[in-house]
Structures are given as C-alpha cells and as structure tokens.
Amino acid sequence: MSLPPVQKLLRQLPVGPTGWPKPPEDGGVAEEVTSPVLATEAGQPTCYSALRADELRPLADSPKACPQDPLVMVALEEHDDLKEMLDSNKDSLKLEAMKRIVAMIARGKNASDLFPAVVKNVACKNIEVKKLVYVYLVRYAEEQQDLALLSISTFQRGLKDPNQLIRASALRVLSSIRVPIIVPIMMLAIKEAASDMSPYVRKTAAHAIPKLYSLDSDQKDQLIEVIEKLLADKTTLVAGSVVMAFEEVCPERIDLIHKNYRKLCNLLIDVEEWGQVVIINMLTRYARTQFLSPNQNESLLEENTEKAFYGSEEEDGKDAKAEAAMLAKCKPYVMDPDHRLLLRNTKPLLQSRNAAVVMAVAQLYFHLAPKAEVGVIAKALVRLLRSHSEVQYVVLQNVATMSIKRRGMFEPYLKSFYIRSTDPTQIKILKLEVLTNLANETNISTILREFQTYIRSMDKDFVAATIQAIGRCATNIGKVRDTCLNGLVQLLSNRDELVVAESVVVIKKLLQMQPAQHSEIIKHMAKLTDNIQVPMARASILWLIGEYCEHVPKIAPDVLRKMAKSFTNEEDIVKLQVINLAAKLYLTNSKQSKLLTQYVLNLAKYDQNYDIRDRARFIRQLIVPTEKSGALNKYAKKLFLAQKPAPILESSFKDRDHFQLGSLSHLLNAKAVGYQELPDWPDEAPDPSVRNVEVPEWTKCTSREKRKEKVEKPFYSDSEGESGPTESADSEPESGSEENGSSSSSGSSSSGTEEDEEEEEDSGEQSEDKEEEEVEKRPKRKDKEGSHKAVLGSAGRYALGRQGGAPITPPPVQPIPSSSIISTSLVTDLEGLTLTDSSLTPTLLSPAFSAVKTYELLHRMAGEGLAVEYCFSRRPFPGDPHMVAVQIQISNNTDTEVKNLRVNEPKPLSGMRIQEFPEIEHLAPGDTASVVMGIDFCDSTQAANFQLCTHTRQFYVSIQPPVGELMAPVFMSENEFKKEQGKLMGMSEITEKLMLSEKCQSDHTIVQQLTSAANVGRVPCGASNEYRFAAKTVTSGSLVLITLERREGSTAQLTINSEKMVIGTMLVKDIIQALAQ
C-alpha cells in the first residue's frame, strides 16, 4: 500500500501542487506538435512560472525580472507571446493562445502565471474562447483568489441573461470557482436558479449545491431548504441531480423524501441513467427505514426447510432473531403499496443498457424484495457478465455475495460462470468463488468435472484457487468428500510445486474432519517432506503427522529425525511446526523421540527468531518434567493432543451483505468514506400516510379497498395497476412525452372494455347538437329519460361483474326493432337534414346507440351507505363548452337523511378545472338524486380528484375519463373530411389492422360499437365498406377523424387522424377493443 517515501517524493517532485521545478527532460511533446512556436522549449515555462507564481507575481509585467538564465529568458518570452496573443483583439489569436494553455493544463503543467492575461478574456464574445477561459478559471481560481474575483461580475451578469444556456453556464462556472469569499454570492445565485423557469437551469442549481457545500459546510441549513424545494420539482431533468445533491449534503434527512417518494418512483423510468442509479440507491435506504421486511413471515418456514436439506451450511445468525420476531406477532404481512410501487417501477430498469443501473436495481431487489421475487435479477446480472472485464469484476463480486444468501437464484445460470482460459485471473477466481457457492448435492458432480479441467490450466494462481475451491466443496457436501480427497491426493504427484503445496494445505483441512480412515494419505504426505519446499505445505504436513502420530507410529519419529537435520534451514512456520511435532511425539512416544526432541529444542533455543525461542522455552517447560515444573505438566498431553475442531472453510464473501450491494464499501469489504449504512428493517412500520401528497386522497380503509380492487381487475396491465388516483395526483403534468402517452393508453384501454359493454342511448343525438340548434331541446329531454333507465338497468349488472373480478361478459344484444334495419348511415344522413320529428329518432336510434355506461364513484360500503355513480352524458356542459359533462347519481341507502352534499376542495392537476354541482341540501333515506358537474380534463385521461362531502363525512373520489369521452362529435361533409384528413397525415395518422368480431359484421353494429366507444359523429361516405366519424376534443377543439375500412373476410383497417397523438393512440386501442369483441 505505502510506497517507499523516497519514491513518493520523487514522483511528487515534477508537478506537485507546490509547483516544484520540472526536470527539463520531461519536454511536453504533445503540445509542441500543435504549437510550432513553442516547439523548442515548452518544458521550461512551467519551471519558471512555477517559481514565479508566488514570489514574483507583482512583477509580472516586467519580463526582465531574471535575465541571468538564458533558458528562463526564452521561457519568459514564450509566455509573453501567449500574453500578447491573449491581449490582441483577434479572436483567432486568442483562441490559439487559449488552446495552448489548455493543452498545458491537460499535461498537468502549471500555467498559473497567465492568470491576469486570461481572466481578462472572460467577457470575450467568442464562445469557444469563453469556454476555454472558463476551463482555465475553474482550474486556477483557487490558487489566485484575488484575481479570480475580477471575473465574478461577468457571471453575475450572466445569471440574469434571458438565454437559459448562458444562465446555466454562468451558474456552473460561478459555483465551480472555489473561492470562499464568494459563498454568499453563490448561495444567492443557487437560490435564484432553483426557482428558474428553465428546468435546465434548475438542474444546474442542483449540481451547484454540493459544490457550495464542500466549500462551506456552514451553509447546510440553507442548502437543505433549496434541496427541499428542488425535490418537489416534477421534471425528470432535475430529479437525478437533486437526489445526488441530497445524498451529498443531507442523506440523513430522510423525511424530505416522504412527500416526493411516489413522484420519484413514477418519474424514475424517464430520468437519465446516471440519475437513476443515485435515486435507486437512495430509495433502497429509504425503503429500509419505512417498510416492513417482506420476508419476516417466510423466514421461519424457509430457513427450516433449507436447513433440513443442506445441513449445517445454511447458517444464518439472524435466524433466531427472526424467529423471535415472528412469534411475537404472527399477523400476516401485507406489503405496503408504496413498497410494491418501488419494486414494480424499478423492475423494467433491469433491462437498461447501463450496467450501473442494472446493478442498482439488482441490489434494490436483493435488499427489499420478497424472497420469491428476487430471482428476476439473476438473469440481468448474468447478462452483465458479457460486458467489459471491469464490469465483470464488480458484478461477480456482488454475485458472489448474493449467491451465499440466495443460492437458488443463480443455479439455473451455473454454466454462465464456467471459466475460459482467456479470462483474466482475477475474473477466474471470482467465477470460481461463485461456482463454489452454487455447489450443492445435485450439481456437484458437474462442478467437480469442470474443476478437473481447471486444475490443468497454465495459470497456477488459478489452479491453487481451484484446489481450495475443491476443498470447500468437499467440506460443504459430505457426499463427495472422499472423491475430492482422492482427487487431491492424486494432485500430490503433480509436477508443479505450488499445486502440490496447495493440495497439501487443503488435504490437511479435510483430514481433520475424519482422520481415522486416512492414515494412508498421511503416510503418503509424510514422504512428500523430502521434495516439497513450499513452507506452508511443509508446515501443514508436519502438523498433520504430529496431530495424528498415533495413526502413523512408525513414520512420525523418522520424519522428526529428518526435520531435525534440516531444522536450521527451515522457514519460521516450518520450525514452529517441527517443535510442535517434537512435543507431540515426546508425549506419545517418548522412548523413540526423547533425544530428538531435546535436540530440536536446543536448536530452537538459539534461533534468531524470538518467537521460536519463546516457543521452545515454553514447550520445554511444559513437557519435560523437572522438579520445578508445576501442575501444568500433568495436563500437557491434554493440551497438545486435544480434539481440535475441524476448520470451517467458508467464503470470503460471507457476511459481506451487511454492506449495501453494489457499493464501493461492499467491493472493498471496508467502510468507505461517506458510506451510508443500510438500516435494518423497522419492527413496526412508520406511518405510511407521510407519503401522501398534500391532503391524503383516501381515508385509510378505502385506500386499501380501492387498491385491491384495482389490482384484481384482470385487464389492467400489471404495471398500470396502481397508477390510479393516488399517483396521478403527483405524476407530472408534462405528459407530452411519448412514454407517458403509451403508458396511459394501456390504462385507458381497460376503461374502453368496460365501456363498450354498456350501451348508450343519446350519443346519436348528441352528434347533431352542434349543427342543429333546433334539435337542442329534444335530446335533452330524451337522454334524461334514457339515461335514467340505463343507469337503473345497468348498475346492478355492472356492480356484479366488477365484484366478481372476472371479465365482464358483454350484455346480450338488444333486440332490434324492425324499423332500425335502415342503415344508421342513412339515419345520420337524414338527421343532418330533417331531424325535426322527434318521435322518429328515438325509436330508430335507441337500439342503435348503447345505453349510458355508469361507473362507480363511491361504493355503498365505502360510502357508509351513500352510493355514488357517474356517467358521461355526452351533452355539452351548460356554461362552459370546454368541459365534459359528468352526470352524478347519488343514492342514499342509509336510514337517515344525508345533508349538505357537496363537492369540496377539488384538487385538479394543472390546467384541469372542475365545475362543482350545486349543493344538495337534503337526501332522504332511499332517495336518489342526479346532478351534473363539468370537468375540463385538458384532453388528458388523468383522473380528476375531489372530495365529496356530507354533513358528517368526506370521501375522496376521483373520476377518470375514457379517452372516447374527451371529445364531442362534429358534423362535416365527405369533402371536408377528406380535406381535413389530408392535413393530418404523417405523425398524426395512426393506422391499425383489426379483426372484426362476429357480432360486428353488420353495418349498424359496427357504428353502434364505435360510437359507444367514443363520442363521435358519423360522416357520410360514398363507399359502402367504409365508415367515417369525426369529433373534436372538448378542451382544445382538435379534430379527431376516424376511418374504418372493411376488407374481405372480417378484417378491417382503422385509421385515426388527430394532431393529438396521445389521444389518437389511445382511441385506436379503445375502438379496436370495442370492435374486436
């Protein structure tokens, strides 16, 4: 570890921080190539400047400072040359000068004397010059603090620049200048930047925090405030950087994370990869403090069975503790939903291309996941083994630790750890470690066969490690002990001494377990003493013979004789063992060995090593009875020939897992500076409600219930299961990103399936509302009646289907009255022209358009008797055309009157607006009231959350609209349609093929299914196999054009044109779902 001091000094000499002169032979070849002017003497300026930097700087402008030395003269002139270039007003010259200076810095040469000349250019217009000046400034400001202050005002000005890039880079450089005097300025700048509107500047602010902290740790409290503020930031750009700052400044302030926990989990996938690593590591620690161990219940059961299988190897010290904890509270473990959220959101990152991210997720799963789920990480870790050898090295270290605790996890990948002759030795040894850890009764034969090949390798260090591995396998798996022992004995005749020596050492350990049967082997080894020279091996043999001298009574004294002869030439450990052997022989067979022992002890008495002299003296007193010798003499035999416990050969990676895996400390197996301990699981879970954002959205009981319900729904894609109301409150509004689009679409497809089962009555009329003012009154009346019926009719069925958890079967198609055989296209055409006779349309349309589908807002049980359902009535909301009308049906199933029903504290996401319904004063028992409220969803399927209050209680509820309800039908002609469609090509067009289901073969069922899936209006169309629909989104009024073309058979092609891509993709899914079922 430590170097000889002289060597270190020498190394330091050339360019130590003190700037000692550099020997001239270190001529900087690199930069001379680029700068012909400097070609001759470039090595020199450093020498000069270094000397001058401190002493002569005041004279900087007088080049005649030291004229004696011609070399120095030249150097001086050259730097003058640079200065001249920097002073010129040509940017190209300045740039050239700066490039040379940077090249000097890169070589580690001192260029600090140019500081005044360089710092002048900080305000240079040329951006590259500027950047290079920054590089210089950051490098030397610390050494020349006074002069550095000159540049500060430039940066302060930069902080106010309208261009975000300039603001950010000004902050970056300002915070990188390590001059304590400007701490207040930096603090101010950081605070300001933290509330900058550009996320890029905020990110820079987050980066600046640890810089300031390292400069002046007294600022901690203020910095924590900034961190707290930035943690609440909702952009992915900032998240990684601020968590980094958090980890460096205040990792102990875990309480700052609570409110941001869910947001961080949800943002994680979109954060850049380096940020992901930091966030995951931090969340691992967080989760350890906040959640209960997922394995506490299983541990008892599992450990026991494992013990039965593998005997002693599976020793777990924590066992007893876990058991005790278990008995203490045998209540079933329920994983906190937030814990689950973390596990679920990190899992896809196992497929990152970045090894650090994969490792971070792997350690998170290892430390946090229930045993049954940890297995998923094995595959990803094995994949990393294909990467660079450094990555392999780190991954294998971690795999080695994991494979001790969770052997089953890597067993399927056993062969991936097989060793190639081209692997570097350090990788080979780690792989060997893993293979040994994975060995069990079933695979030991394959592993041993593999080991046999390794033993013949050319790499002797590796062979030695293999022999040790065999030894470990033999101790751990009793079945193969004899096979291994035989194999090792064969190795004793190997030509390579290292191999033999290693085998001897391992055999010694193995023999200790069952010496009686193996006197043959001991004899064989005794013969080896003549040839083998490796001290450790000799010592081992001697110890063995001494220990089991009773098994080899004839050989032992002879060996001692030989050893006594060569005693003086032996290594120390061998000498000690010779003494040992002599003592043991003296005790068991004093007749033959008395003299020999005396001789050896005498030799040892005058040995150079005091250890050996001491030992000899001690042993002589102990074994040779004299009159002075005390009581111990009697026990000498017991002392020396006591039964010794067999050594346990265990992995050096055992118990390393108390370090967080993947950390530097784990790798070094020592606590690194700044390492944060991984806390133990708490016995009692801390209050989970701290993570609720703003006000808690759910009362406790409903939260559990709702969550469960959601998970059960079979059509929710797994990952979307919980992205319901709770998270959507804090998931960010900038959902323009593609990721979000696709993710929410899978969520909404589910609502689509629900939707098309229910049928709606009034959407047909709805489509005409915009055009035909005169019809206005009629549909209103109609759908009131219609929807009432539908609500009553469908509510029961709906609830039934949902509670069963099974996919809801579509209701039987309603019998179609004969009059409705007229194709709906005709109807719509007619409607557009003549709809004045209200009595005609309902009979025609009611079967064609489905009943309104209702959704549950508040279940009877959760609402303590108050049941609330809602449906999308598809009428424009009076008062605000940008709102979607939601009809709410409240029924009072209690036996008391409910008073003051109202909406309270709507918590809309940004941009979302809620128009509350007028307060309901009384609702008698058994009564049902129907009200309408308007919600502007901003054309997104994010849920609207609000509270529903009665005079006694309040319920947190949320409404999530299916994408089809976010639009209102528009009427247009075929030509208009084509024209609009022409404008919405390319990215705005989505085409998908689908198979029409059996019941969707007739024209009108198709139209019916489609219009029930989305609130769209039919557009007349010339071709008989084509259907067109048009709608506008409610909030922004963007057109949504749908074309469905029937092909031969039951295939069809669906095209949606909309500038709202997210809506388009979601709608495609919904419609396909509706038509394919």
Partner: protein, 418 residues
C-alpha cells in the same frame, strides 16, 4: 463523485489529467503503478484500488488506463460505466481511442470532459448531445476553422438536453433517408475434449445506423420475438410497448448506436456451426510433440463459414512449431507462444487441416496441460438463433426511408478445450 481523471499509457506516462474539483496531485497514481506492477498482466490490475485518502477506479481500454480518483462512497460500476462511456465518446469523435488521437485533440478532449461531468457528476453523456455542443473534428472543418477562426463549439443549447428525447438532436436533415439494422449474433461456447458442448449461448445485438430526417418514430417488429430471452435496451426504446406487444418502438438517435442487446436462452439448443478435430500430444523424452487440428462445418444452414481464425496459447515449454496448413497460413510467435492460424473460408469438400511437429525446450518437463483453441468465424446473412425482423414502420415523417437489415453470425468467446 469523480474527482479527477488521469490517462496513463502503457509505459506509465500520465499524458492527460483533468480535475473536476480541487486538484489532486499526480502522485496518487503511484498506488496505481504499484498495483500494476504487482498484477504483472494489464488485465489483472484490480479495477478498484484503495489508497489512504482516495480510491482509484480504473479501466483499461485500447492500451490506455483511465484512472479516476474518488473520495467518497460511490457505486463502482457507476464510475466504470462512465469511464467506458468516455472512451466510447473518444472513439466516436476521433475514430479511435488512442494516445495519439487524444494528444492531437487535447482541447476537444478537454472540452468533452468538461461537458460530460459537472462537479464529478455526469451531465451530458449522449453522443448526439455532445456532438451538438462540441463538433467532432473533420478535415474539412479544421481547414475552415484555421482560415476563418471559427470554433468547434456549438453556440446553442442542444434542444435534446431539454426535451424528453435527450438522445436525438433536433433539425436533422438528410437527402437520402436510410435506416440500417445489423443483427449480429455471437456464439459463446465451451466445447470439451470429446467435442460435446459444455456451454453454449447466443449473445446478440442490433446495431443501427439511422439517417432519417426530422423526428421519425420507428417501430421494429420481429417474426419471433419470444426467442429473445433477456434484452437490454437503448434508452430510446419504450419499455411498455415491448412488454405488451413485443415491438421495439422508439424515436432513434441520429447516426450509429446499439439498439438492443439480447441473449437467447440457453434452454434452446444452440447450433454450433463448426466442429474441431484435434490431436495435440507431447512426448516425454524427445522434447517434441504432435499437433493436428482439423476444422469442419456443421449445422450451418447452407451458409458458408468464413473468416475462420484459430488462436492457441501454447504452453511455455514450446519452443517452435513446424506445421503445414492445407489451407490458409499460420504464424507462431515464439515470445508470446501464440499460434494463429488464419483459415479463411471452410469448404466442406476439403476440410482445412493444420498438422506438424512441436519443438519443446529440451530438458523441460513435458507440459501436462493441453492448450485450448479459440476459434473465430463469421457467417453472413444468418442469425443463428433464427431471429428475423418482420417489419419496420415509420410514423411521424412523410418520406419513404430506405430500410435495410443485415444478419451476421460470429463466434464470440468460442473455446475448444483439448
């Protein structure tokens, strides 16, 4: 996190240093030199070295050691992965990551390092972003720059840095819009003495070269996506689409990049396209040995196996080899004891064979181990796993791109034990 970086060449010269926090003296590298000396082989230098005040994390790439200085706890892989990313960036910028290239472009290197890390924490590592910030050197540009005095530094903030698509630069324009995908599969295998497969696995990657204007949104689908057992993605790929539909949907970075890498599960039988018959023996007394190797094609699905090269690390006792090759040429380096046989194409009619005598050091005991044979080969137009790209669709742009897919199978770590 990362305090400083030193670039060291094989002869132990520190030819570049960069500090992101206060300056760490070069003498810290002595600990590294010490470890290097101890390791003998460059491959065996431990990637993490602990010194009294610092930790050194290093990688070895292209004959250069990248040694980073760390002061506090940091996931080692984080640093290692980052250093490799730095090396990749140099490679990308200068065409090679060599000492000369770095020295020639020292200013660009410095600017790059400045952008890639801020206070030791990675800032911009996407090559597309970096190329907008700092233009890579080309001959034309360096000529123009020297005349006009303009610079390599971009003067606007790359839009990607702010968008949700940080890997793609804005305003890409091409006259020919092309998208090429190379499906490259490597067979990792260990074949034992008797010719049976101890371990075999297919590691594949899809490397893409995408030159498309605007913001294309691509989706690539496979005929048999279930084949892919374990996949890792470029960040541009939407996880969710893959999870639900097994379609790769992405807005690609501009230029060359690795789209996915995958592994085909070892449960499926991996077809081994070549077999090797070998007879290597050393005689005890005569200090000579025999060497006889034949390579033949097997299960190659009608495609020719080409580019076959065999390298063997012979035991130290081997002095020289006298061989005759029926095809191709062989070289034996008596210093490193490496035998290389460049076979070329295998024709099933006439199997290539290399045979002859091995001269051993006289007096030295016969080597007890037989060397293992490392085989390289290539099969064009075949993905050995059977993976097939079904189609590539483009959304978001109106032009018709030219699309191309190329398949190639190579030997990865393909080793035959003898």
């Amino acid at each position: 996190m990362i305090h400083s970086l030193f670039l060291i060449n094989c002869s132990g010269d520190i030819f570049l240093e960069k500090h992101w926090k206060s300056v760490v003296s070069q003498s810290v590298c002595d600990y590294f030199f010490e470890a290097q000396e101890k390791a003998i082989d460059v491959e065996n230098v431990p990637p993490v070295i602990s010194t009294p005040h610092h930790y050194l994390i290093s990688i070895y790439r292209d004959k250069i050691f990248f040694v980073s200085v760390i002061q506090t706890e940091v996931p080692p892989l984080f640093v290692i992965e980052f250093l490799h990313r730095v090396a990749d960036t140099f490679q990308d910028y200068f065409g090679e990551c060599s000492e000369t290239a770095i020295k020639d472009n020292v200013v660009i290197v410095y600017e790059l390092l400045e952008e890639m890390l801020d206070n030791g924490f990675p800032l911009a590592t996407e090559s597309n972003i970096l190329k907008e910030l700092i233009k890579p050197p080309t001959i034309l540009r360096s000529v123009v720059n020297s005349i006009t005095g303009s610079s390599n530094v971009g003067d606007t903030l790359p839009t990607g840095q702010l968008s949700n698509i940080p890997w793609r630069r804005a305003g890409v324009k091409y006259t020919n819009n092309e998208a090429y995908f190379d499906v490259i599969e490597e067979i990792d295998a260990i074949i034992d003495k008797s010719g049976s497969t101890v371990f075999a696995e297919i590691q594949g990657v899809i490397d893409s070269c995408i030159k498309l204007s605007g913001m294309p949104d691509l989706s690539l689908s496979f005929m048999n996506p279930r084949l892919l057992d374990d996949v890792s993605f470029h960040p541009c790929i939407r996880f969710k689409r893959w999870e639900s539909e097994r379609v790769l949907s992405f807005i690609p970075p501009d230029g060359n990049f690795r789209l996915i890498s995958y592994r085909v599960s070892s449960q499926n039988l991996v077809a081994i396209p070549v077999y090797v018959k070998h007879m290597i023996s050393f005689k005890e007394n005569t200090s000579s040995g025999r060497f006889d190797v034949t390579i033949g094609p097997k299960q190659n699905m009608g495609k020719t196996v080409e580019g076959v090269v065999m390298t063997v690390h012979m035991p130290k006792a081997v002095l020289n080899m006298n061989l005759t090759a029926t095809q191709g040429s062989y070289t034996f380096d008596p210093v490193t004891k490496v035998l290389t046989w460049d076979v070329g194409k295998i024709t099933p009619q006439k199997l290539p064979n290399l045979k002859g005598m091995v001269n051993l050091q006289s007096g030295a005991p016969k080597p007890e181990e037989n060397p293992s044979l490392n085989i390289q080969f290539k099969i064009q137009q075949l993905a050995i796993s059977g993976l097939k790209v079904n189609r590539l669709d483009m959304y978001g742009e109106k032009y018709k791109p030219f699309k191309g897919v190329k398949y190639i199978t190579k030997a990865g770590k393909f080793q035959v034990r003898t």
